[in-house]
């Protein structure tokens, strides 16, 4: 579900060459949640039917509710609808309605609003649609305005009346709201040009007094999510996250009364905004603007104990490692491009994982940054873009420490920037950079994978038992290729808690029809006797020949070594790093320790309260070169110790 984000760059990106498309598709399912999305392909359909049914309802609302509305409002609404229609035209058909996407789109929506003030007004206008849609459904079901008022009041009192008010129509209503929000986001993002045209039109309209009201209603969408009855825990958390983000931006937005104010990002006391909104004729804003303040108070206490425990209960050995966990990161920086902001969220939430996927997603986002980049007056294109990209990369680094593949790609990109010709027009330069990014993806990831697979096909023969650990897109590609060659082999997937990425690997291999065995990592000794080869993916290869990979890789290599099974590490050269490291503690990444807690009955529950008890969730470990038989790269099959050689000759290969 959350995966959508990864798809978005594809839909938004330029029509790519066939090869690239294939490449992307191959990399696409890296995302764990993809499977969920595959299963729930029906959701977009239902949502579209909903929207269809909503349209007449909306019209009826306009008829019914017209007397209460001022002329200006109606005008504004019409404009909004026009925009929505435009947005719908541009909307790609395969947009599943998932809460996570709405989070992302909302987040990015806000970045848009803060970045381009003109867009702010338009998106805000569109949001005007939300309350109207909601009321439409309500009126269809003969719920009077007063009744809803009462419900809203209850909400404000902080009672948990959600169950009581969870009527069908409301569920529908919030679906509508979600959809509308997405459309708005789509419109804002996908059609930079068209939106601007629309704003030109809108400029004639006097919307200044309407805008605060509209903005105040903005949080209604996430607020509506809260009422949804059947939400899994994870979803609920995601929604809370979204609310927080929405709120944060709601606060920053409110001070702009005319919608034209510069995006200073200063947050006035939240109480002021509603009072300003109260002057506007419609009643909706008053209710909606009051509710966010309530949700702030309800969500913050649930969050704070966790946050404090995080800082207090730290494993001493890992004090030097920063645990990138600040929720404040998602409060948007006006200077961060929406594509990067979204990517940052995806990194932080681990919806985009694996160094290849991270690298591709980064490059796609980077291309968008380049496309949308406008050189400030009297500045050189290359230099100012360099500074802007650096800011974006810093933002990503704050969300999650950069993968080696990403920092390598960034290095190459920077290198490219310095070599740009100075006398060419900007559009051509942008095209040049876009082309560079495309070739980087194609050569460093796509062709490299094919070359590695080519090397390994000679090594996989009939009767082989391949043992692999966790999930690697490269290993998956190799196995699929071998299957295509009709080699009779089977795969043992070793997995470990808490990530359980191997299940995803198992699912993918299972889909291609390869017979699989699945064990957890402590049983690796049990199955190692059967294995004839161990194939491992890697996060990075360090200059001293150590392999940095998902925790557990070293253990698998160790056991394989004890059983005299050859260990082949598959790693493209774009993941080679110039860093030296001899153990996994000097530099590592820490994930959420709460992932180790298993369910309610687990003894670790509430571990922060139990003395000096600390779960530790390491991300990577380091496999010493003596445990690795060979590294398979697109250049050749090499011993680990040849990494520095490759690093030296690397600029000559690839492109």
């Amino acid at each position: 579900m959350v995966l959508m984000g990864e798809q978005v760059p594809q839909t938004v990106g330029k029509p790519a060459k066939n090869k690239q498309k294939k490449q992307r598709q191959r990399n696409r399912p890296r995302n764990k949640r993809n499977r969920l999305e595959d299963n729930s392909l029906t959701t977009p359909e239902t949502s579209t039917t909903d929207s269809a049914s909503a349209m007449p309802g909306e019209n009826s609302v306009r008829d019914a509710g017209a007397p209460e509305k001022t002329r200006e409002q109606v005008m504004a609404e019409r404009e909004a609808k026009k925009l929505a229609k435009q947005a719908k035209k541009q909307k790609t058909p395969n947009t599943a309605a998932s809460p996570a996407t709405t989070i992302i789109t909302e987040v990015e929506q806000t970045t848009i609003t803060t970045k381009l003030t003109t867009t702010t007004t338009t998106t805000a206008k569109e949001k005007l649609e939300l309350p109207s849609v909601v009321t439409a459904n309500k009126e269809n079901n003969n719920i009077t305005q007063q009744q809803t008022n009462v419900v809203q009041a209850n909400l404000e009192n902080g009672n948990d009346v959600e169950a009581a008010e969870k009527s069908r129509d409301q569920i529908k209503a919030d679906r509508e709201a979600k959809k509308a929000a997405k459309q708005a986001a789509k419109a804002g993002k996908a059609s930079g040009v068209k939106v601007e045209a629309a704003t030109q039109q809108l400029a004639n309209l006097k919307v200044s007094d309407k805008t605060p009201a509209a903005i105040a209603t903005a949080p209604s969408a996430p607020e509506a999510h809260e009422k949804k009855p059947a939400l899994s825990k994870a979803e609920r958390r995601a929604i809370q996250e979204a609310q927080r983000a929405a709120k944060a931006q709601g606060l920053t937005k409110k001070p702009q009364p005319g919608g034209k104010a510069p995006p200073t990002g200063k947050a006035p006391p939240a109480g002021k905004a509603p009072s300003a909104a109260a002057t506007s004729p419609s009643k909706d804003p008053k209710r909606e603007s009051a509710s966010p303040t309530k949700t702030t108070t309800s969500s913050s206490p649930s969050k704070s104990p966790q946050a404090t425990s995080h800082s207090e209960c730290r494993v001493k050995l890992f004090n030097h490692l920063v645990c990138a966990k600040g929720d404040s990161l998602f409060i948007n920086d006006p200077l961060v491009h929406p594509a990067i902001a979204r990517l940052g969220v995806q990194y932080a939430k681990r919806t985009v994982v694996g160094s290849n996927a991270r690298c591709i997603a980064f490059l796609h986002a980077l291309r968008q940054v380049v496309q949308d980049f406008e050189t400030p007056a009297k500045k050189e294109f290359g230099r100012s873009l360099d500074a802007a990209v650096k800011h974006h990369v810093d933002h990503l680094h704050k969300c999650r420490p950069l993968a080696v593949s990403v920092s390598n790609a960034y290095k190459q990109f920077k290198n490219q920037l310095t070599q740009l010709p100075t006398d060419t027009p900007e559009t051509e330069l942008k095209e040049l950079l876009g082309h560079f990014i495309d070739t980087y993806i194609e050569n460093q990831i796509g062709k490299a994978a094919q070359a590695i697979s080519g090397f390994l096909q000679e090594k996989i023969t009939d009767g082989d038992v391949i043992l692999t650990f966790a999930c690697s897109s490269l290993i998956q590609f190799i196995c699929e290729e071998a299957k295509r060659r009709q080699v009779a082999f089977r795969v043992i997937v070793v997995d470990s808690r808490p990530g359980c990425e191997g299940q995803e690997m198992l699912r993918r291999l299972h889909a291609t029809g390869i017979p699989c065995t699945y064990v957890l990592i402590n049983a690796v000794g049990y199955v190692m006797a059967e294995a004839t080869k161990v194939l491992l993916g890697a996060h990075a290869l360090l200059a001293n020949g150590y392999v940095m990979a998902r925790t557990g890789t070293a253990q698998v290599a160790l056991v394989a070594n004890a059983h005299n099974v050859p260990v082949l590490v598959c790693c493209e050269t774009h993941k080679f790093s110039e860093r030296f490291q001899t153990d996994a503690i000097v530099y590592n990444e820490l994930s959420d320790p709460n992932q180790l807690v298993r369910g309610e009955k687990c003894q670790l529950n509430n571990w922060a309260a139990k003395g000096k008890l600390m779960p530790l969730n390491l991300n990577y470990d380091i496999t010493p070169p003596e445990l690795v038989s060979a590294v398979v790269t697109e250049v050749a099959i090499l011993p680990c110790t040849s990494v520095p050689v490759i690093l030296r000759i690397k600029p000559d290969i690839g492109y």
Partner: protein
């Protein structure tokens, strides 16, 4: 003639299978109670008859619970006891004044042939055997009761302050041992590998977290190698100790031991004497038990339909990966286990 199990034996088997009796200590205790009951009963008239009954019941237990070696170990102890007491009484009767038989001189040891042992006829009824046996059994019982405490006492000898200790899963001996160490030494860091899928390590961590002056870190099994570079000592429990000094331990112990070997970290195994079994098992399949796979991967997930999923319970750890055994009688090197076994059990009882 088919051997019939005693009512107590069937009850014990049921209790163990259902999970009412858990942990090798309580299983050993219960088995000992049964054999005590057999000795007290009037169903045997001479040593030979008693030994046959014990063997028969032991075989039944073994067949029903192949993975619980402690039951056979206790049976072997009883058999050895019977032989000893019988010999002693026999010696008193036949060579009253001659104590050359009782005390084994070097000359005797060298010249002694195996024939002389075989010639002993246990079917001769012997007065006072029952009383002597019950007396001796009392000693065994006390030894069993104090074994855990005796192991704990040695904690101070092996752990210094501010050590980083890694352990795996949840063993009661290890829990007591570490608690003792925490009391005596300051600033210990204990790393507990959770031991999925049962994640019994969480219980150990929660239990140890109540102590003061200690830092408990719970890690997933995958991080054992990564953390091992900082570990001073590995202390694990075991299910049983094999004749060659190898271990049959909780799944994951092999990886721990290998990683420890890689970083030259000493591996200390806590094993009370009753866990020593005269078995030679070097094959994984021969002695392993495969548990429920539901915890590994949910049955209703799509890939689980076709994939083979294993959840083995034990790991074989070869003796070269073990540094030291700590039993209730003191520390032993893995190479010394064979000698302990010959002292503990009679050579003829190795095969029951």
């Amino acid at each position: 003639m088919k051997e019939q199990p005693l009512k107590e034996v069937t009850q014990l088997i049921h209790a163990i299978k259902v999970g009412l009796v858990e942990g090798s200590y309580s299983i050993t205790n219960k088995t000992l109670d049964i054999f005590k009951y057999i000795i007290m009963s009037k169903s045997w008239q001479n040593a030979d008859a008693l030994m046959q009954i014990v063997r028969a019941q032991c075989r039944i237990l073994q067949a029903a619970l192949p993975q619980e070696t402690v039951t056979s170990n206790i049976a072997r102890r009883i058999l050895k006891l019977t032989r000893e007491e019988f010999d002693l009484l026999q010696a008193k009767v036949q060579h009253f004044a001659d104590d050359s038989q009782a005390s084994l001189s070097l000359h005797k040891l060298v010249t002694q042939t195996s024939e002389s042992n075989v010639s002993v006829d246990y079917s001769v009824p012997q007065k006072g055997l029952r009383e002597a046996l019950l007396d001796h059994l009392q000693e065994v019982e006390t030894e069993l009761e104090t074994s855990s405490e005796n192991i704990c006492v040695q904690a101070e000898e092996h752990i210094h302050s501010s050590e980083i200790i890694l352990t795996l899963g949840h063993s009661r001996s290890v829990e007591n041992f570490l608690k003792r160490a925490i009391k005596k030494r300051q600033f210990l860091t204990i790393i507990v590998a959770e031991c999925a899928p049962a994640s019994r390590g969480h219980n150990l961590a929660a239990s140890l977290a109540g102590e003061k002056n200690v830092e408990i870190i719970v890690i997933p099994d995958a991080a054992i190698f990564a953390m091992m570079s900082r570990v001073n000592k590995v202390i694990i429990g075991t299910h049983s100790v094999l004749a060659n000094g190898g271990l049959r331990a909780a799944c994951g112990a092999y990886t721990v031991a290998l990683a420890a070997k890689h970083y030259s970290v000493p591996v200390i195994v806590l094993a009370p004497m009753y866990k020593l079994s005269p078995l030679h098992l070097c094959e994984q399949d021969a002695f392993n038990m495969v548990g429920c796979a539901e915890d590994v991967i949910p049955y209703d997930s799509i890939p689980a339909r076709e994939a083979k999923v294993y959840s083995p319970m034990f790991d074989y750890v070869p003796p070269e990966l073990v540094t030291l055994f700590i039993s209730n009688t003191g520390g032993h090197a893995p190479s010394y286990v064979y000698r302990l076994l010959t002292e503990l059990y009679h050579p003829e009882d190795l095969e029951i």
